[in-house]
């Protein structure tokens, strides 16, 4: 059951809620909504930019090549190498693509005329987290075997037997079941909350300026718009950080699957 949050002080202002995220289908085609278009658009953008950056590879890189290489280098050096360990190179392409995909889709939230973070719908992060889950389960089972992987992830060494009665189920639930859920919900929740925050400030400011009859409210409306602008910059920060954290945690899950012991 969803309830409309009607906590606004001014009567008549309909506060934005979940229903503002369910956009109508475009051109009457069922299933073709703005987030779906944005997903395709982001894939095209990333493909074109990376293609351009390696179009004419030289020893002394051009500006575009330098940008592409430093993006790849960021993921390789600060995420994959620290988190995964000696075999990190195999996973760098996946992590780079993941980071680029999440980053572009998050930044859609503050780019004018687009202004909708795709991951404000939970379905997309669920799919990404499922891919990450499949990869780290597969890698772990490949590396340790099924029993070995279950032992690594639920059987920490040097623990008294009576602690294991509680610890092993907790480790199983947290490592195998809860990880993909929290991974996706973190991204979804941050994007959803951020977009809702911007909606509240901008729609609230619009209501104060155009709809409300009170002169004081009209005079105070620039503050609401100002806070909207401040939070747009704050959202830019959050969006980059969340993309980073998603990739960082994915790398760390892959790293723990590969680790020989805790």
């Amino acid at each position: 059951m969803t309830e409309v949050l009607a906590t606004a002080p001014a009567p008549g202002f309909d506060a934005p809620g979940v229903e503002d995220f369910n956009l109508p289908p475009i051109a009457g085609i069922e299933g073709l909504t703005k987030p779906v278009l944005l997903l395709i658009f982001s894939a095209v953008i990333i493909y074109v930019l990376f293609r351009l950056s390696v179009r004419n590879v030289q020893l002394v890189p051009s500006k575009g090549q330098f940008l592409g290489e430093s993006f790849h280098g960021l993921v390789r050096n600060t995420i994959a190498r620290d988190m995964i360990g000696p075999e990190y190179l195999r996973y760098v392409p996946f992590l780079t693509a993941l980071f680029a995909f999440i980053l572009v889709n998050n930044l859609f939230g503050i780019i004018p005329m687009i202004q909708f973070p795709t991951f404000a719908h939970p379905g997309v992060p669920y799919a990404l987290a499922m891919i990450v889950w499949l990869i780290y389960m597969f890698v772990g089972i490949q590396h340790h075997g099924l029993v070995g992987f279950l032992r690594v992830s639920t059987w920490p060494p040097d623990v008294p037997w009576w602690v294991r009665i509680i610890l092993t189920p907790i480790e199983f639930i947290s490592n195998i079941i809860l990880r993909p859920i929290t991974l996706s919900l973190r991204l979804f929740g941050n994007m959803f909350a951020g977009h809702l925050l911007l909606l509240v400030f901008i729609l609230g400011g619009e209501y104060m300026l155009f709809v409300a009859d009170d002169l004081a409210l009209k005079l105070l409306s620039p503050f609401a718009f100002g806070m909207g602008i401040v939070f747009t910059f704050f959202e830019a920060f959050v969006q980059v950080i969340q993309a980073y954290i998603f990739v960082m945690l994915s790398a760390s899950y892959i790293g723990t699957s590969l680790a020989d012991d805790h």
Binding site: G17, T182, R186, F192, Y244, I245, M248, L249
Partner: protein, 67 residues
């Protein structure tokens, strides 16, 4: 006065993660102040700790809308 009790629940659920995130970054700042060259390594760990404790607040936010 009308409103949703869910939001009060979300406020309560944000207290713990708020304290937790504060502790994580306090430890990070302490660590960097004592050993500035370890910044790169500490940064990764700090963000993982931040993400793990923040997850609870995010779950609270989602439940505030879902329930």
């Amino acid at each position: 006065m009308t409103g949703s009790l869910n939001v009060v629940g979300y406020g309560l659920s944000a207290i713990g993660p708020g304290i937790g995130v504060g502790i994580v970054f306090a430890a990070f700042i302490n660590g960097v102040a004592r050993q500035p060259e370890a910044r790169g390594q500490l940064q990764g760990i700090a963000f993982i700790g931040f993400a793990l404790s923040e997850a609870l607040a995010i779950l609270g936010l989602v439940l505030a809308f879902v329930l």
